[in-house]
């Protein structure tokens, strides 16, 4: 019944629109306005541009100011402060250009709308002007690029020696975290060794792997450089830690990396935002299938002392699951057993 009523309503509405349309067409034919070069609509359209300029401008400024704290994510890494600064400098430069060009673009239509009595200026070119607006953007852009290039070079420079290494491996649809343990060297891995009990495919014939351990949360110290070694085991993923201003694709067959220095612990951020629930997160930003939107991992930034304490409490893979090293050659097995006994 409702469907029927809606259909009748829509039909009525359409026929009314149709009538109006026909009537205004006929009226314009009678008035002969279709013979004119510019009708009254010209004035309305010209005016609309000004309305749009003012209305749109007000809306933009109002919303940008009102929502600033919402869309401006707090930053918690050293390089993030730099890139944020670049972002806002670029915003200022482009914002000025945006506003000036739009004022001209929408004001000219109003100012120079058609008048039968006037003739347009025949002004086909001016090389001096062209030269000015080629060089000025070139110089401004060059400055922006140089700023960006410096930041980019610093960010992508090799990680400091003493960086804490964390391996993050993406798979459908989660992240697996591996720590190198006390030696700060990750053991070799091979995708053919992956199994239910060895998610990362760690190669335990490499002694460096003996103290490697996993963690459900990425725990890192504040104020010390951290190196994410990133890989994927099935399709492309991308590690995105928005508060750290960090993003790097995880590519099967090609390890990638990203190093950074966190500047605020989770607790500090909670206090700053007055949000006791706050956590740093990692999300996936490279389409990877059904669960793309749910690849979440928590990052917990702690004070360095707390980090060292946490580190010493962690149990390597082989301690939690000695069967991982059960098939090793006797020599290595002995070493592994020693490691296991050290942790007991």
């Amino acid at each position: 019944m409702y469907g029927f009523l809606i259909a009748v309503g829509v039909l009525l509405l359409l026929s009314i629109i149709w009538m109006v349309y026909r009537i205004q067409t006929l009226v314009s034919v009678v008035k002969g306005s279709d013979k004119k070069i510019a009708t009254g609509s010209n004035k309305i359209n010209a005016f609309m541009f000004v309305i749009f300029l003012i209305g749109g401008g007000i809306l933009m400024f109002w919303y940008s100011i009102k929502e600033f704290d919402n869309y401006n994510l707090p930053v918690a890494s050293e390089h993030g402060v730099v890139t944020d600064q670049l972002f806002w400098i670029t915003m200022a430069v482009t914002g000025i250009v945006f506003i000036i060009t739009h004022i001209l673009l929408f004001w000219f239509p109003y100012k120079y709308q058609y008048k039968e009595t006037r003739k347009a200026d025949f002004y086909p070119d001016n090389n001096k002007l062209e030269l000015i607006w080629t060089t000025v953007p070139a110089v401004v852009l060059a400055l922006l690029v140089i700023g960006g290039w410096k930041a980019w070079s610093d960010i992508t420079a090799p990680a400091p020696e003493k960086s804490h290494v964390v391996e993050i491996m993406g798979y459908q649809f989660a992240w697996e975290v591996r720590y190198p343990g006390l030696d700060n060297v990750l053991g070799e891995h091979d995708y053919r060794l992956i199994s239910a009990s060895n998610v990362s495919g760690v190669d335990f014939t490499d002694k460096n792997a003996f103290d490697d351990f996993t963690s459900p949360v990425v725990v890192i110290p504040k104020g010390e450089p951290v190196l994410f070694k990133i890989r994927a085991r099935d399709v492309l993923h991308s590690v995105f830690a928005p508060h750290m201003r960090l993003k790097m694709d995880a590519v099967p067959g090609m390890p990638t990396r990203f190093w950074f220095t966190p500047t605020k612990t989770t607790e500090e951020m909670r206090a700053e935002l007055n949000d006791p629930e706050f956590v740093y997160e990692i999300a996936c930003t490279e389409i990877c299938g059904r669960g793309h939107f749910s690849m979440k991992k928590e990052i917990r930034v702690v004070e360095p002392e707390e980090f060292r304490k946490w580190l010493s409490e962690q149990k390597p893979y082989i301690v939690n699951n000695p069967s991982l090293v059960a098939d090793l050659p006797s020599e290595l097995k002995e070493l592994a057993d020693i490691t296991i006994s050290e942790y007991k």
Binding site: L86, F98, L104, Y114, T134, R192, L236, D249, V251, G253
Partner: protein
């Protein structure tokens, strides 16, 4: 092949009537070789795809704006893609965004825009009877049609269409185990795109040859309308970059079906380790973006060309900096080939390469800026008539500025780290490439409708359509900048799973409502388009009082365009409001010798030369005729 030989030399046109052939329905409307009809075929197919592509976006906007909405009512159309609890299936959501992108970029804004107007306008504006090869032109459309059919079928198969994003990065798109859309749907995608590439190449070769060889007498390159320059350069870009997409697709086919490892390495999926080693997924990204980035300009340049023409005509003023415009377009054409890796700053690319591509990318912003300033100066002190075409052109310039400026953020690799693959990118390219090109398409349709169908579209409906769409597009895409700065990743089915993105539900709802209304406003256009085709006011021969050649043809030009001789061209196309002239426009066909009152000093010099040429031509004609008799 009457058209082929008459097109080669204008003096042969006398014979044209003897060769006039009467088309039947099939040769006139279906397997036609007339560039005008082929252009219309591309346009109608493009409109069909635009509706499909738009509807797909509405479905995923419903999901994003109203995540809790009961979508049971879509079951009659989407069937199993609606989960038992009345929600959109997450995999189908990915299929929707993938197909929306593919359809809009390739089928609407490449074929629908470039295909329509390059075909329709090149012969008409350069003064040719038809394309260099009418047959290849016909093939071009039918390859596109075949591609469309295959892509359309892929929407209905059980495992769904390709779902790996419109970029279809492997390994996701290479492995059926990764997602169901990478099965048959992806195969069909690859076949469809292969046909599409063939279509683009056939069209592109034709456009280039036609522009180089078939210009009428006097139509030197420095007198070509900017539309033709744009179409010409677009075709060059397409010709050089589409084959690279084909190679990317071909290698992907090998990886998918023949066990090669071009893109695959070290993969453990579905509980087993695959044998592939040594491949690189990044290789695909390089190959893809080697087309993918020029593709942006394939989409954009025709729109800019159309805009240049329409803004000049309706400002009653020459386009400012004709040469600068051409140089900018040339610059964009060349630079478009050396910026592709800015899509890959965080793909694991060597950071040094990242720096190089950042520099190159920001260089391409300069010619774009020059174009904008030239448009603004063209409007300055003009005598502006706001036809719907003009409104859409001004709208295009606005989008080009808004979207172009955000490109400066994204082209800066340091800033891109945070913004890459967030809604900031979505906002950026939907404005600068999507909406700007769409507005170019609309401007072109409104402007050349009288030439296409001999009737006028209703201007008032055009105004309503423009304002609804212009405001609508900004309401849809402007808020996405905020969402993007906040870090919302794209291609997300839902953002509520993360603390940082568990907000802006109101803004997303607003965007979705705006998207639905903006789509609704396109119905006004559809009505106007199809109604005016049959019942619109009959157009005058030159309704916009324009200078270019197409307006010298009859109201319904036959196959061959001009009934008599092809008109010769004596001046550039932008003699609007020339001081001294009685009218505010002087068509290209008016000799300089006929307008002594308005000639500039250097043109007065040319008059002598022109008179000499005309005299020689007449002598030739007399000689020809006496030979014949």
């Amino acid at each position: 092949m009457a058209t082929a030989n008459v097109a080669t030399h204008s003096t042969d046109a006398h014979d044209h009537h003897d060769h006039e052939h009467h088309d039947n329905f099939i040769t006139k409307y279906i397997f036609t070789q007339d560039h005008k009809m082929i252009g219309k075929q591309f346009l109608v197919t493009g409109i069909f795809w635009a509706i499909i592509g738009g509807l797909l976006s509405l479905v995923f906007r419903l999901q994003l704006g109203f995540p809790d909405m009961e979508l049971e009512w879509l079951r009659p159309i989407l069937g199993g893609w609606i989960t038992p609890d009345g929600k959109l299936d997450p995999e189908f959501y990915l299929a929707l965004v993938t197909m929306h992108g593919t359809i809009m970029v390739f089928f609407v804004l490449t074929a629908g825009l470039s295909g329509t107007f390059s075909n329709f306008l090149i012969p008409l504006q350069i003064g040719a009877r038809d394309m260099a090869s009418g047959f290849m032109n016909m093939l071009s459309y039918w390859f596109f049609f075949l591609s469309s059919v295959i892509m359309f079928i892929s929407l209905f198969i059980e495992t769904g269409p390709a779902s790996g994003g419109w970029v279809v990065y492997p390994p996701l798109s290479a492995l059926e185990q990764a997602m169901p859309g990478s099965g048959l749907g992806m195969t069909l995608w690859l076949i469809a795109m292969t046909c599409f590439i063939a279509s683009s190449l056939l069209g592109g070769i034709n456009y280039i040859t036609t522009v180089i060889n078939l210009r009428t007498k006097g139509m030197s390159f420095s007198r070509l309308p900017l539309t033709i320059w744009a179409f010409f350069l677009t075709a060059v870009i397409g010709l050089l970059s589409f084959p690279v997409l084909f190679s990317a697709a071909l290698l992907l086919v090998f990886d998918r079906s023949f066990g090669t490892s071009f893109y695959l390495s070290d993969i453990y999926i579905g509980g087993e380790a695959l044998p592939n080693t040594g491949g690189s997924p990044v290789l695909y990204q390089h190959l893809f973006w080697f087309l993918g980035h020029p593709e942006v300009y394939i989409v954009l340049l025709p729109a800019l060309g159309i805009t240049s023409e329409i803004i000049a005509t309706n400002s009653r003023k020459p386009i400012f900096g004709y040469k600068a415009m051409i140089i900018s377009m040339l610059g964009i054409t060349i630079l478009s080939f050396v910026v592709w890796a800015h899509h890959m700053f965080v793909s694991g690319l060597n950071p040094f390469l990242g720096s190089i591509f950042m520099f190159l990318t920001l260089i391409i912003a300069i010619p774009s800026a020059v174009k904008v300033f030239n448009y603004l100066t063209t409007l300055w002190r003009g005598n502006l008539i706001f036809t719907p075409g003009m409104l859409f052109s001004i709208g295009l310039v606005s989008f080009f500025i808004s979207g172009g400026l955000t490109g400066i953020f994204l082209g800066n690799s340091a800033i891109d780290i945070q913004l890459h693959d967030t809604y900031f990118v979505v906002a950026h390219f939907h404005l600068v490439m999507g909406s700007a090109s769409f507005f170019g398409l609309m401007a072109g349709v409104y402007h050349w409708f009288p030439k296409m169908f001999g009737r006028m579209m209703d201007a008032r409906l055009g105004y309503i359509h423009f304002w609804a769409t212009f405001i609508g597009v900004y309401l849809v895409f402007f808020p996405m900048h905020y969402i993007g700065i906040a870090g919302f990743p794209r291609r997300y089915y839902s953002w509520t799973g993360f603390e940082f993105s568990n907000m802006y539900t109101d803004l997303n709802m607003f965007v979705s409502v705006a998207a639905i209304l903006t789509f609704g406003a396109q119905l006004i256009f559809l009505f106007n388009f199809f109604y005016s085709m049959y019942r619109g006011r009959v157009a005058s021969l030159n309704p916009w009082r324009s200078n270019t050649l197409e307006w010298t043809t009859p109201l319904h030009p036959g196959h061959g365009n001009w009934p008599g001789e092809i008109p010769a061209v004596y001046r550039w196309p932008y003699d609007y409001s020339k001081p001294g002239a009685s009218e505010d426009f002087i068509p290209q066909t008016v000799p300089l010798s006929a307008t002594p009152e308005s000639n500039l000093p250097h043109e007065q010099e040319l008059v002598k030369l022109e008179k000499q040429i005309i005299a020689d031509e007449e002598a030739d004609l007399v000689a020809d005729e006496s030979k014949e008799s």
